[in-house]
């Protein structure tokens, strides 16, 4: 275990940023956002960032390749830039789990190499949550915010941050900055961290969504929920916007589009949303005609289809972003509570 006092945090960030690109959460007019660290940047105290940390591995837009055309000939130009080491500081336990969820999609054969390269080059400093919000329900998915996963796990107390490397990648990075952040030998580290864990566990029990359960969901429940009458009332006021999917750390749908910039053609990938009416539209037809079907797809995927393909793992981490960001305040918690309860009006 290593310790850095908060008054020396900037020094620590500077040291890490001297090794690789470092991103930390900072406060902006749009809430906390991860930004590249610069001297003097102040780390946000917010519980979580508005956008999730998935952006680092699966950015909202990325240029996949470019083309040059001349007459009938085509040339493909490699424009890849994802092979650069970076570190993200302050990722919460829920977002760390979201990387596992995304890995199973993007790294299953054949692996998405753009994502894979970023994963290999990213170092994750996770940060335990000392004060969870009323919208948090990571515990529902077996996530423990007192013991986040990550390359280096951090605990923030009133005056210091304690860090422990959990992977080789994390240990190597910490070793490279050991002159700034030394081993906390014989220090108060262990007791301070344990006290933190204790507080977090107690607070988790008080959360209003602490008892939310996944018991009724799982990979074999398509028939049970697909025609549930509750979908109608749950989806009836859905605007069909993409807010939930875009702030969601596990939503992974994307589009690939070409863009003729005038001086060459770019093929880029961008986030897409199953909530959008055009998502499945073909010249020949539209398998999901109404918002009910599109709304259902999103939640069936998280609670049934994804677990069916991934050993029962759900594609939700309980971060609560959709709870605070949905324009009409509809969200996965309401879906989980109302499905399977029999009756439209429960929605």
């Amino acid at each position: 275990m290593r310790k850095i006092t908060l008054d020396r945090l900037d020094e620590f960030f500077a040291a890490v940023a001297g090794k690789l690109k470092l991103y930390i959460p900072v406060d902006t007019a749009g809430g906390a956002q991860f930004q590249q660290w610069r001297a003097g940047a102040k780390m946000s105290d917010a519980l979580n960032t508005t956008r999730s940390a998935k952006d680092f591995f699966f950015p909202q837009t990325e240029n996949l390749m470019e083309f040059k055309t001349e007459g009938k000939k085509i040339e493909i130009i490699d424009v890849r830039r994802e092979n650069e080491d970076f570190a993200i500081f302050g990722v919460r336990a829920c977002d760390v789990r979201s990387f596992d969820v995304l890995d199973r999609a993007f790294l299953s054969e054949p692996a998405d190499t753009y994502y894979q390269n970023r994963r290999e080059h990213g170092v994750i400093f996770s940060l335990a949550c000392s004060k969870p919000a009323e919208t948090c329900f990571c515990g529902t998915f077996g996530i423990d915010p007192a013991n986040p996963k990550g390359d280096i796990v951090c605990y923030k107390t009133d005056d210091a941050i304690y860090m422990e490397a959990k992977t080789e990648k994390g240990a190597n990075l910490m070793d490279s900055v050991s002159d700034i952040v030394a081993e906390d030998e014989g220090g108060d580290g262990e007791s301070a961290v344990n006290a933190q864990k204790e507080i977090i566990s107690e607070r988790m029990k008080k959360l209003p969504l602490a008892s939310l359960s996944t018991d009724k969901f799982g990979g074999d429940k398509t028939a049970k929920f697909f025609d549930d009458p509750a979908w109608k009332s749950l989806s009836e006021s859905c605007l069909g916007c993409g807010t939930c999917t875009f702030v969601c750390p596990t939503c992974q749908c994307y589009d690939i589009k070409d863009f003729n910039a005038g001086n060459g053609i770019k093929r880029f990938r961008c986030w897409d949303s199953c909530m959008y009416s055009e998502f499945t539209k073909m010249s020949a037809g539209q398998p999901r005609l109404t918002q009910l079907e599109r709304f259902r797809q999103r939640f069936m995927h998280k609670l049934v289809y994804y677990p069916a393909n991934n050993d029962g793992m759900f594609s939700c981490v309980g971060c609560g972003r959709c709870l605070s960001k949905c324009p009409i305040q509809m969200n996965i918690v309401k879906v989980m509570k109302n499905l399977g309860e029999g009756g439209e009006n429960n929605g």
Binding site: Q60, E134, K257, I328, Q329
Partner: protein, 330 residues
């Protein structure tokens, strides 16, 4: 004077359902917490009693839902509307977006809504909010109760409320108010005073946060095109994040142009923006300019009024006077 409560509205809705005057009710529905209120359709007394909500967090403007809902059946819909919502309602009628005969409007009084985002700035992990004339008491999970002034936790659109007057209703609860000379153009004026470079930087900074979720468009009562150009894959400006960020900025500016003269300044765009971009300021700039060039005009104040931008009079300002080349405020 009779005090208007949730029960007042529920019992009137039940009466109208029971008499057959209406066969469904568009209102607001309770959620998990005090603030996560969802627009919802009610069809029976039982669900109204169980789930209907009326209070500080019923900010959602229900008028746009009527466009689709009125098409679904011949029956009449009861809808509850705050004063600002009724302007959108009228504007939609002006644009012939639904049949007035299919809607029964109950106007409800409004003391200004509360903004969960602003409450969170003062009180983390809050679970309940009690408000009265003395202010707002917020209970939190870990920090006890926090007392706040109402003005500290109201959204900008309510702090700068333009009207407490219902411009459309079949039945009104509470006493009607009047229009208010609010400071809603103050922020616009600040931006106008910037140099073009500062202004460009201001908007570039704000709009750079856009994630192109389209929530602003999808909630906007002025955006009711059957098929939005940004949803058309053949338009070349389809609805997703663009390869270059300039397109994102264009999206908002094009949208502001498209709703100019029709935007009632309901503020829903800024309410729903997950990135807290003050989108309503773009629309207010148009409203302010239209007021300045053509005389005061409030979209939705009257059904059937012709907005200055789609009307012509010989007194109209010459375009060359409205926008002077090189004008810093252009």
């Amino acid at each position: 004077m009779q005090e208007i409560t949730r029960d007042t509205l529920i019992s009137r809705a039940k009466e109208l359902l029971a008499s057959g005057e209406v066969d469904r009710v568009y209102g607001w529905k309770r959620g998990e917490f005090c603030y996560d209120v969802t627009p919802a359709l009610f069809t029976d007394a039982e669900s109204l009693e169980k789930d209907f909500e009326w209070g500080d967090f019923c900010g959602a403007n229900l008028s746009k839902y009527l466009v689709e809902e009125t098409r679904k059946s011949e029956g009449k819909i009861l809808v509850f509307m705050k004063p600002c919502d009724t302007y959108s309602f009228n504007q939609l009628l002006t644009e012939h977006r639904f049949d007035r005969e299919k809607v029964y409007v109950i106007g409800t009084p409004c003391a200004g809504m509360l903004d969960p985002k602003r409450i969170r700035d003062h009180a983390e992990s809050f679970t309940s909010v009690v408000s009265d004339e003395n202010g707002v008491t917020v209970s939190t999970l870990f920090d006890g109760d926090v007392k706040l002034d109402r003005s500290e936790v109201m959204p900008d659109r309510c702090l700068n409320c333009k009207s407490k007057k219902h411009v459309a209703y079949d039945e009104l609860f509470g006493e009607d108010g009047g229009t208010i000379a609010s400071g809603r153009f103050d922020e616009v004026e600040k931006i106008e005073k910037m140099t073009p470079d500062e202004r460009f930087e201001f908007w570039r900074g704000e709009l750079s946060r856009c994630i192109r979720c389209n929530a602003c468009r999808d909630v906007c009562p002025a955006c009711t095109c059957e098929k939005c150009v940004f949803d058309n894959p053949n338009s070349g400006v389809e609805n997703k994040a663009a390869e270059n960020s300039f397109e994102e900025q264009m999206f908002h500016i094009i949208r502001a142009f498209h709703v100019a003269g029709r935007c009632t300044d309901c503020g829903e765009c800024s309410r729903v923006c997950p990135q807290q971009i003050p989108l309503h300021l773009l629309n207010r700039k148009f409203i302010k300019d239209i007021d300045g060039f053509y005389g005061e005009y409030q979209a939705g104040a009257e059904v059937g009024s012709r907005a200055p931008l789609v009307d012509y009079t010989t007194e109209d300002i010459e375009p060359s006077d409205a926008v002077k080349g090189g004008d810093e405020n252009a």
